[in-house]
Structures are given as C-alpha cells and as structure tokens.
Symmetry: C2
Subunit: 661 residues, 2 copies
C-alpha cells in the first residue's frame, strides 16, 4: 500500500515537473513538496466524489498557495475531476487551456476557489467552514445530519505571512470552527531565500494563541504521520486545527530540493530527468504515468463514491420526514428567490422624508430578510454605523451557529475573503460591510469576487465628505474610481430610498457579479421619479422641455438632489437642462447603445458631472467640452454641511459651472 501511495504521489511530481517544463513557466516547488500530503488527504481522508464535483456536502479543499496549481491539476487528472486529460496537462498555462497558471474557479472542474494572491485562500476557507457550521445548525436534525463536511486549506509560508490569514485565523479561533483544517506547508523557503530573513516567528504558538489545535508532521512524505494528523485534526471538533507539515520544497529533484530556485521556475530538462531517476520512475518519457497508478486510482475513485450514495439516501429520508425542511433547503439553494421582490410594492415604498441611504439600506436588508431565508452577513465592527444588523436574528457565534448576524471584528480584508468563501460554498446569501473609505483594505479581495463571479454584496456607508468631522482619513475620494474600474463589479451610489431599493434588488438578484452599495451617512431628500429605472444604471430623472436639452447634469447619490436644485435655478435664468441620475455607471455601460444615446445624446456637449468624490472616470460622459463639480483633493475635518459648501457642492455653484460652458 505504501508503495502505490508513493508511486501515485510521484506521478503528481512527474506530471507537475513535466507540465511546467513544457510550459517553460510555473512553480514546481509546491507540487513536489506537497504531493504526498495531497495524495494522502484526497485518497484516504477527504470526503469527495470526483464523479459529482458539485455534491453539496463534499469536503472543501482550497489550495491557498495557488501558484502550486499543477498539484491540483495532477490531482484532477488522477482522480478524474472533469475528465481532465493528459492533453489538458500538456497544455498547462497555454492560452485557452483548462489548466491556467493559477487555479480559476468556474473554469476548471474541481477548483473550489481562485487563488494566487496569497492569504486569500485561508480567508475563503474560513468562510466555507462558517457556511457549513451555519447550514448544519439550520438543517441538521438529531436523527439526520445532511450538512456535515470539513474544509481543508493548504498553504505555505507566504500565506502564513499575509495579514489576511492572521485576521481570518483569529476569527476562526474565536468562533471555534472545529471543522476547519489548515495544512501548513512549512518548507522554510521563500523567493528571496531562507524564511529566516523575514519570518522567524513561532507559527505553532501563534496558532495556539488564536485558539487552534496544533498538530505536527515532521516529514511531508510520511503517509502514516500525515494520515494520523489528519484524523486527529478531524477528531478535534471544538476548535479549528492546523497541521504543520515539515516539507522540502521541490522534493525529489536532487539539485533543486530545499532551494528557493525550486519555487517559481521550471526545474530544467536535466533536473527533470534527475528527478525521475532519483524517484526510480519507469520511463524518461514526458507525462508518463504507469498503468498501475491509473489502475489504483480507479479503485480509489470507486471507493470515493460510497459516501455520496449514503448521503443521497439520507437526504431522501430527510426530505420525506421533514418536507418543510426540504422546502427550506430548496429556498436556500434557489438563486432566483429574491427576484420576487421586483413586484412587491412594499419593498419599493418609503416614507416621504429625508433619510440617510444607510438607514434605508438597513430597512431594506430587513425587508429582504423577510422574503429570503438565507441572508448571512455583517460588518467589520461597524454594524451600528453601517446599519447591517438583521433584527430578530441571533449572532453567529461558537454557541449559536444558527445566528445570522456576523461579527467580523476590525478585519476588513478577512471579512471580504470570508464573504467570498460564503458565496463559493453556496446555500447562504452573504453580505459584508464597513465604511466606504475602508473598501481600500478589501480591494484585493473584491478583485477576487469579480474574477470568480462571486456575487458578494459590499455595504459601504459614509460615502463622501458627508462623513464630516472624522476628516480626510475617513472621507472616500478615489474609492468610486477604484471600484468602478474593476471588471465585473457593480457599484451603486443611490440618490434616495427608491434608488437604494433598486441597488439592493440588483445586489441580491445578481448571479455572477459582486455589487457594492455606496451609502450616505447624512440624510437625503426623497426625489420624484426615482425607482426601478435605476436598474438601468442611469436614467433621465428630470428632463428639459426642449428636444435637445441646453445641457445635461449627471449626478449620483447625494448630489442628485443638488442637480435637481441647480436645474431649477437655471430654468429661472432661461436655461432648460436635463438631469440624469446615474446610480451605477457599470450597469449603464451594459445597456444598449440606443438606450445610452437616449439618456446622453451625443449632440449635447454641455455636460456637467456632479459627484462629491474624484472626477476620475467622468471624462467618458462629459468629454472634452464638459465640466465636473467633483473633489480635486482630499477632504477635510468639519461639519458636513460646511464641507459641502467649502468644496463647491451647492446648487448655485453647479448652476454656475453649467452656465460657464
């Protein structure tokens, strides 16, 4: 048995080395160093069925060190995920292949998360474990557990160094996520050399400090020790576990093992041959896998089918015995459920009084919670400000897994990564929240939401100099441009309650695009004519009576009412302008050319953009002949109304700028 294990692990090494050699690019260090760990886990300890990669109760496996993608692809090939063929392996890193440089969720069957930017896989795994814990509490019955899986995540020194993982682990420890198992590939090598140059901390002690159970494996090729550690970690269900495995980067390749040069470049033809000789491989031929390895894997694959079959039988019994739970399960997994809000008038109806859009958002979130059972989210310690609490719902904690309100602590980056993990796990409808200016901390994670098409909702309040006294560190300026410029990401900045409803509607019905809701701290008036039209991203709010307007004022959020006021002033002076409300540039760009022309006719060149943030990106709409009333630098500390005045956000000034064109 030990022999075929070693041989299969070596097949992972050989496939990885050959693929990277052929691609002339890639990272052999991790696949060679972790091949035995991965094989032992996937073949002997992990609950998964390659024949059904979407099985809801499968154990999750995240390769946080995404550069080691050939480890995953080799596993996929050997375990039969998505019938990944040897040809696919040969096409590693080639344009259009199923085997891109880093694992891409939604692109290659079996990839649970897009990884590469270090640390993020750790955060996503914590999110997956939270989803499991919550769904288990919601659905499991004493006589029937239908949600009961582990989440494994594998990463190296880089992932442990990233602050994101510290944030995520600290929260995981607090929450006692007993079914999270972190496998730390400790090879003591980083790109610049020995980790001693920058990373001498006692990782075990740090993980203990977070509340993890710590297990050690002294030799990354000792299958028995790996297996024992995995079983011990699984048995320790009161707290998350880390298994620190001492590995050798590039294991098996004599000239490279244990060296930084094994990390991120092909071994070189001679070294690949030396690897094969060293491990006693049967053939020097590239991409050669012995038949007995394939035969062995057939047995393994067959064996892996049983748990899902048992689960299916259990699930069938469950549905029969608890029909109301079956219905709830279907609701939890129905991504179209929120669409019914479109026709519910009460969702779109608000008192006609000035309100902060963050307050409206809080109200809407609770309306959604009545329509949809599976909201699950919270804030990075700003819930009272972000207005993100679900009323009447408990707090998700070590003691109460059914609670729907999440407390992330002051950990924006991990929060977003956890949000991605929740979205990827499925079954819950996640949202995360902080001040808009702190979206900066989440940027690298929001990018992964976009790349993975994970429709996470970001609630971002305190959206401009309207923050007031807290001053420039807390006043977003360039954050709209930062998020708007990201592909496949929708940024809504609603002008009043009905536009906020449209934004939330868009967010919770989005299937493949994350959404940010950018909301005010301060009160805004309710405007006439707002509503579902906001779902088109931009629309004519108040029109000129002329066929060709004298000018167009385009505004978003808190500045739309200013534009409406300015329009009145201009009308009194004989200028008849159109006001366009543009709550979401990204969605507007997705409309037909005809619609866009109808809102912003090319013939009208006198255009003024009004937005109390950076003008970066407005050139697309105002062109070379328009103007903007935007922030030209950072904000200031003072009462919000004084700041709006100071920086020119008055109807009179907007009117002046329009007239100056």
């Amino acid at each position: 048995m030990e022999m075929i294990k070693t041989k299969t692990a070596n097949a992972i090494r050989v496939l990885s080395a050959d693929a990277i050699e052929k691609a002339k690019s890639g990272h052999p260090g991790l696949p060679l160093g972790c091949a035995s760990i991965a094989y032992e886990l996937w073949a002997e300890h992990m609950k998964h069925n390659p024949a059904d990669p979407q099985w809801a109760d499968r154990d999750r496996f995240v390769l946080s060190g995404g550069h080691g993608s050939m480890l995953l692809y080799s596993l996929f090939h050997l375990f039969g995920y998505g019938n990944l063929s040897i040809e696919d392996i040969k096409n590693f890193r080639q344009t259009g292949s199923l085997t891109p440089g880093h694992p891409e969720y939604g692109h290659t069957v079996g990839v649970e998360a897009t990884t590469g930017p270090l640390g993020q896989g750790m955060g996503m795994a914590v999110g997956m474990a939270m989803a499991e814990a919550h769904l288990a509490a919601v659905f499991n019955k004493e006589d029937c557990r239908i949600v009961d899986h582990y989440t494994y995540v594998l990463g190296g020194d880089g992932c442990m160094m990233e602050g994101l993982s510290s944030e995520a682990f600290s929260l995981a420890g607090t929450l006692g996520l007993g079914k999270l198992i972190v496998i730390y590939d400790s090879n003591k090598i980083s790109i610049e050399g020995d980790t001693d140059i920058a990373f001498t901390e006692d990782v075990a002690k740090r993980m203990e400090a977070y509340g993890f159970g710590v297990f050690r494996v002294e030799d990354g090729n000792d299958f028995d020790a790996i297996g024992a550690a995995l079983e011990a970690a699984k048995a320790d269900t009161e707290r998350p576990s880390v298994i620190i495995v001492r590995t050798q980067i590039g294991y098996g390749c004599p000239a490279k093992q244990g060296k930084a040069s094994a990390h991120g470049e092909p071994l070189g033809g001679d070294n690949v041959l030396a690897l094969k000789e060293n491990i006693g491989w049967e053939s020097k031929e590239s991409f050669f896998v012995p038949q007995d390895v394939y035969d062995h894997m057939e047995t393994v694959k067959e064996r892996l089918k049983a748990p899902e079959e048992a689960w299916k039988a259990r699930f069938a019994q469950y549905c029969e015995k608890y029909p109301e739970m079956k219905e709830l399960w279907d609701q939890y997994h129905d991504r179209t459920l929120a669409e019914k809000l479109y026709d519910q008038d009460e969702f779109w109806t608000f008192e006609d009084k000035p309100q902060a859009t963050r307050n409206i958002s809080g109200e809407l979130l609770n309306r959604i919670n009545k329509a949809v059972p599976n909201l699950f989210g919270g804030s990075a310690d700003l819930a009272p400000s972000n207005k993100t609490a679900l009323k009447g719902e408990g707090d998700f904690s070590r003691e109460d897994r059914a609670g729907k309100n999440l407390h992330f602590g002051v950990r924006e980056q991990a929060m977003a990564a956890i949000g991605n993990g929740l979205a990827l796990h499925g079954g819950v409808l996640p949202y995360v929240a902080t001040f808009f200016v702190f979206s900066d901390y989440m940027k690298p994670v929001a990018r992964l939401s976009s790349l993975m098409k994970a429709p996470l909702t970001y609630v971002l309040t305190h959206d401009s100099i309207g923050v007031g006294e807290d001053g420039p560190t807390h006043e977003p300026i360039e954050q709209l441009a930062m998020l708007r410029s990201m592909p496949n990401f929708h940024v809504f900045r609603p002008a009043d309650a009905r536009e906020t409803a449209a934004a939330w509607y868009a967010a919770v019905t989005s299937k493949e695009t994350p959404t940010a809701l950018v909301l005010t701290r301060q009160n805004l008036p309710q405007l006439e004519g707002t509503g579902k039209a906001a779902l088109k991203g931009a629309y004519v709010l108040e029109d000129s009576s002329k066929e060709t307007p004298d000018a167009i004022i385009i505004a978003t959020g808190s500045e739309v009412s200013l534009a409406v006021e300015a329009r009145k002033l201009l009308l009194a002076e004989g200028m008849d302008v159109r006001v366009v409300s543009m709550p979401c540039m990204d969605v507007f760009e997705e409309q037909t050319a005809e619609y866009k022309e109808s809102v912003l006719p090319k013939a009208v060149r006198k255009r003024v953009a009004v937005e109390a943030l950076s003008d970066f990106g407005w050139g697309r709409y105002i062109g070379l002949d328009g103007a903007s009333v935007c922030m030209e630098g950072f904000g200031a500390s003072g009462p919000a109304n004084e700041l709006f005045e100071k920086f020119g956000f008055t109807a009179a000034h907007v009117a002046e700028v329009v007239k100056s064109l």
Copy 2:
C-alpha cells in the same frame, strides 16, 4: 507627585470630554482610558522636547488608534507642542482648525503620523524603529551615539485585529527591533460590543510567538506600574516589546466607562458633569484646567529640554571629531541631493537594445545608489523579480543594521506602512516593491502616503497582461485607475529606458508626493525621442507633419512602441497622426493649460488611447469622439505575445481603430 500626575491625567480627560462635547462628535473612550498611560510616558519616560518638535533624535510616538486624537491634542496643549491653545482645543473637529477629527501629519505640530485607518500606525512605528536602527548603525561611533531613540506606538483592540499589525509585528520580531515599544490599550470593548464576540485570541502569546517581550500592567491608572513596565521594556533591547495595559474605555465617566457607547460619540452633557464630579474636578466650567496643572507642566517642559541640550553638545563634538561623518549626515538629511542626477549624462544613457523596464529600473536604482548614500528599501519577497536589490550592499537584519536591502517577507501592506514610517522618520530614502497587481494590498497605505505627503517610492513590476502565463490573478487591469485616481500620487508607466530614468528621477526628487513606477516584465525597444520630456507627464513623441494632426494616438509604457508602429502603418495609408507618450497622467495634469493644449490640441477630436489595462479614466483625453484600445475585462493565462494579440494589442488593430473614427 502621584496626586499631580492624576490631576494632569484628569486634565487630559476633561479637555477631551469637553472638546468632544462641544464638537458634538468624537471619540472619548480612548483619551479617558489612556490618559494616565500617556501622561506617564510623555512626562517621565519619553525623550522629547516640545520646544523643538523636529529634533532628529527625539523618541517617536505614534497614536495608532487615531480616533483618540483628543488624547494627542490634550497632550500637545499641556506639553506646549506648537503652542496649541485652549482655543484650538475648543475648535476640535471644526473646519480649518488645528485639531481635526483624526491626527494629520504636517498639519498639527507634534503629530508624527496621520492615523485613523486602524493598524497603520503599528506598521509606521515599525518603520520608524527600523530607520533608527539603521541610522544608528551608520552614524554612531563607539564613543559617541548620536542616533539613539525609542519608538512608541499606542493602539487598541482594533489595531491588534488588523492584519497589517500582524505582518508588521512578525517582521519586527524577526528583526529584533529592541527599541520598538508597543502599548496595547486592552479595554475589551469594540464598537459592536465586548471583544469576546470576535476577538478571544491570547494576544500576549501571539506577541511572544513573534518574538516580542511581553509586559503587563493590570491597571491603566497605576502610574508606578506603567512606569515600571516602560522602563523594563526600554531595558529589553534585544527584542521589541509590547506592554499590555488593562484599561477601561471611557474611564472616569460613571455611566459610560467600560461600555461600547464610550467609544465614538460624545458622553453627553450630564455625563461630562458626572465625570467631573466623579474625578473631583475643581470646576464644572468647560475647558477648565487648574493652574497647578499648568504650573506643573512648566516644570516638566523645562526638564524635558535637558536631553536635547546634551545631544546637541554631543552632536557638536561628533561633527568636530568626525567631519566626514558630519558631511554624510548632511547628505542623509538633504532632500535635494538626488537633483544632481538631472545633469549626469550617465544616468540617462542606456544601450540601444530591447530591455524590460523592470531591468532598467534595477540598473537605475543602483546608479542612484552611487549618487545618494541613503537609499533603504526592498521587496515583499519578490526582489529577484522586482529587480530591487542594491548590489554590494548588505541585507538589513538583526545582525547587520547597516544593510540597505530590506526583506519584508510576503507582507505587502506592512511593507508600505513601514515605508511610510521610514519616510516620516527621515534620514533615509525609502522604496518598496512588489508585483503591480498586488498594489491592491497596499492601497489603504498608499493613500496615507498621499495624505501625509510622504514621498515613498513604489516599484511595481509585471504591469499588464505581459505577465503572461501567471494569468488573470497576476495581471493588473484596473490598478492604474486605482492609483491614478488618488490625489497627490504620481503614477509613472515608462515606455523605455530613458522614460524609466525620468520616472526614477521624479520619484527620488519628489518632496511631497509619493510615486509609483509601473514597469514591464517583458522587453521593450528603446524609442527615439524619449527622455527628460517625460518629466512633463506627457509629450509629443512623434509628430504629424500637418499643423493639425489627422489624429492623435496616446499611449503609455509597453504600448508606446505599438503606437509608433501604428503611426507608420497609417502614414502608408495617407493618414498623418501624432503619437503622444503619456508616462504620467498625474504630472501632465499639473502642467500649464498652454502646454497641455500644445500636446493635445482641443481641435483634434480623433484620439485613440492605447494601454493594455482598463480604459477607465481615458475619457478625459479621448472625449466623446475618441476610442481606446484597452482591456475590457480580466486577462488570461498564456504566453504574453499571444495575449497581446488575442486582446487586440497589435499595430494593425490600433491603426484600424484610428481609421474607424
């Protein structure tokens, strides 16, 4: 003695409570909870002289929990920093005041760093301690220590939760920064309630794991215990220290102390009175400070002058005995030193062969290192890829403080914060480096560089789909827009070697603006006509022979050569276009209207922007009638040349787009 200490600490409490009450906004929890700690430190243990806030060898103090700004302002008033008056205190958080909501570096005398976004102060303090350690190694003589100061940083649970501080502390432990002293205001309260909901980790154990000495104070008002811990921490010079002080948020205010509501809102008029009664304050009058407190502070201030006088005498002796060191000292502190490169032809001269701008950058960095003695920087574990190693210089480490090459580990966020700390400390010329796509991780910190006017240089290589096989997680798309949209931040994306020289020249001579150098992985040809003109941000590289060009192609970085090729193709078809190279939009925007018109005449509306990243922000230059050849979504994994072809970055396609206008 104890009595006047308590009274002075209470003066801090009263001033803070009154100021926040008057402003109707602010954070009383920290100033009330930490008043005694701050007083004890500032009056008894910290080496500083309020009469000379710029004294080079002063101990640094960073308030990482910047929301507690009234603690600082109260200290400034009592210690006499910048003659901050009681009127200034009364103007807390008012427009234009010296006492904004969060401490702003360069705005209020005595503020060592802008803080507010949590965690960043911790990172900056680590940078300051690194600068001290390095300068001490460079300048101190056995018989004369002229660099010898501590760095103190105070922060609470939020700062400890942020991943940035974990990154920074782990590195500080590795480096054994013995003169860094972290004071952890442990009040067990966060905005959403008790820290137990999200933060139960054993902080002491975690800090020990990093290699910190851990000291404890059980009562945040026990001056003796605080003093003893500070002295113990100072004496422990082999490793950084953390002092965990158990405090009570909002201490002194009966109805508020120990509660989350003490954190971020005024206590309320009645509670302010209750506070004053509870601490036995002599007057209910707002902003009342007893004369004996002022008198006491005069004594303290007088006493604080002595160390600087001693230092000045020592420094004078030093200069006399070591005149060559005095000269070096002046060079280290001369912010104009690099300007001499402008006239050094060898700085601007390169072989005429294709080269990656990252390689050129590496060469230039080493040229600069010959002209300027105080470069001090490195990469987040990507130096071999970023080409940021200073050849012939050692590595800064626990053993070698004189080394100039920094190894940050895989910690982009802390790296940038440390870079800010280095810049704020002064004496060194810092730079930091990573892949361009990972500038995402540094965004919140880059924003502070801009806000603080800290001219840190960001070396960001692998700047487009030219990354190739690593794929979309590693291919920047929206990062240019993200950085360009930030106020007071210069983003250079040079097209060849001479433009890279201009970019580096701009970076190392910048006084108040941070600079990003965005550089290619792949080789680029050397172009005719490039050079110092790039210092204007954009310029005509190849002109049309017509007075009014038929069209203008604007390009940056790797796409400039493509624009030049496209121009040739168009000329062959009878179209005579201008090519504008625009290495830095931000600098171009700072030019005169005349210059801008000369480069991009308003009359020419056929404009095409070519840049292998997002088109977001190009509207400003191409207007409503132009077009762009940019990336419309994320990149892909494949050989770079194939990707450029696949996404339309060919001269033929650019020419097509120009013709289509």
